[in-house]
């Protein structure tokens, strides 16, 4: 699924790496628990999370996750945005809940990790 489609479906705002809107993601994982995110070995993954702190970005960096969609209107802090830019990570934020976001994207064909 193209990032631009993710944006349309979840009415998300793009915060970084706007030029990569045409990128495709194959799978998504929804979690506020970074310990679980770190156990995944899936490539081309989008993280959907409501966990809004620097460790979200650090975890994505270590796990080679290039796309993060923040739910419930959780706006990343300036240090998070700065780090994401440095790591060439695309950040999105939607006002929708984790459940609704996941449901909408799943229905539209975005695959789960498991």
């Amino acid at each position: 699924m193209q990032i631009s489609e993710v944006i349309d479906l979840t009415e998300a705002k793009i915060l970084t790496c706007e030029t990569q809107k045409g990128d495709n993601v194959l799978r998504a994982f929804a979690s506020d628990l970074m310990s679980d995110v770190l156990t995944l070995d899936t490539d081309n993954l989008m993280l959907i999370t409501g966990l809004n702190n620097l460790q979200t970005i650090r975890t994505a960096e270590m796990a080679e996750i290039k796309y993060i969609l923040f739910v419930r209107g959780k706006m990343p802090t300036p240090p998070m945005i700065e780090l994401a830019k440095k790591e060439n990570m695309l950040l999105l934020v939607t006002k929708k809940s984790l459940f609704q976001t996941s449901g909408v994207l799943f229905q539209a064909g975005l695959k789960p990790v498991y």
């Binding site: 970074m34 156990t39 070995d41 702190n53 620097l54 460790q55 975890t59 270590m62 080679e64």
Partner: protein, 138 residues
């Protein structure tokens, strides 16, 4: 052979992961396979976060040679009373503050094991913990 050493501050989540991030960039420069880099980075980051989450302070030493990457984490902290129990998925003594950071689910040590070729943990209660992780790169 290359060697790097970092000081890690206990309790300071704003800096957690900076040492691992630095080493990950070095591994990228060395042109290691992306899958290997991710394995090493995840194991290293889990161990670094463990020091931030549980210890007062610690150090992370990384030695890179042609065969493997060896990571040594030494901390001053409460130590681990029962290492077998700590290795079990789901067991954690992490504080509420640590859980708010998205950690403390009792997944860290087993995930380090999964992402490495060798893991040894030595701990003295009331003194500290030494964690050694080795990942083969050849």
């Amino acid at each position: 052979m290359m060697e790097f050493k970092y000081e890690i501050e206990g309790g300071d989540f704003s800096k957690a992961g900076t040492a691992s991030s630095d080493v990950k960039k070095i591994l990228k420069q060395l042109n290691l396979a992306p899958g290997l880099i991710k394995k090493i980075a995840v194991a290293m980051y889990e161990a670094e976060v463990n020091i931030v989450a549980h210890a007062y302070k610690g150090t992370m030493s990384v030695i890179i040679n042609a065969e493997n990457v060896r990571m040594l984490f030494e901390d001053e902290g409460p130590g681990i009373a029962d290492i077998d129990k700590a290795m079990q998925e789901g067991f954690s003594t992490a504080s509420e503050e640590v859980r708010q950071q998205g950690f403390g689910a009792g997944m860290g040590l087993s995930n380090i094991k999964k992402n490495s070729d060798y893991l040894s943990i030595n701990s003295t209660v009331g003194k500290g913990t030494i964690v050694e992780i080795i990942t083969n790169i050849k």
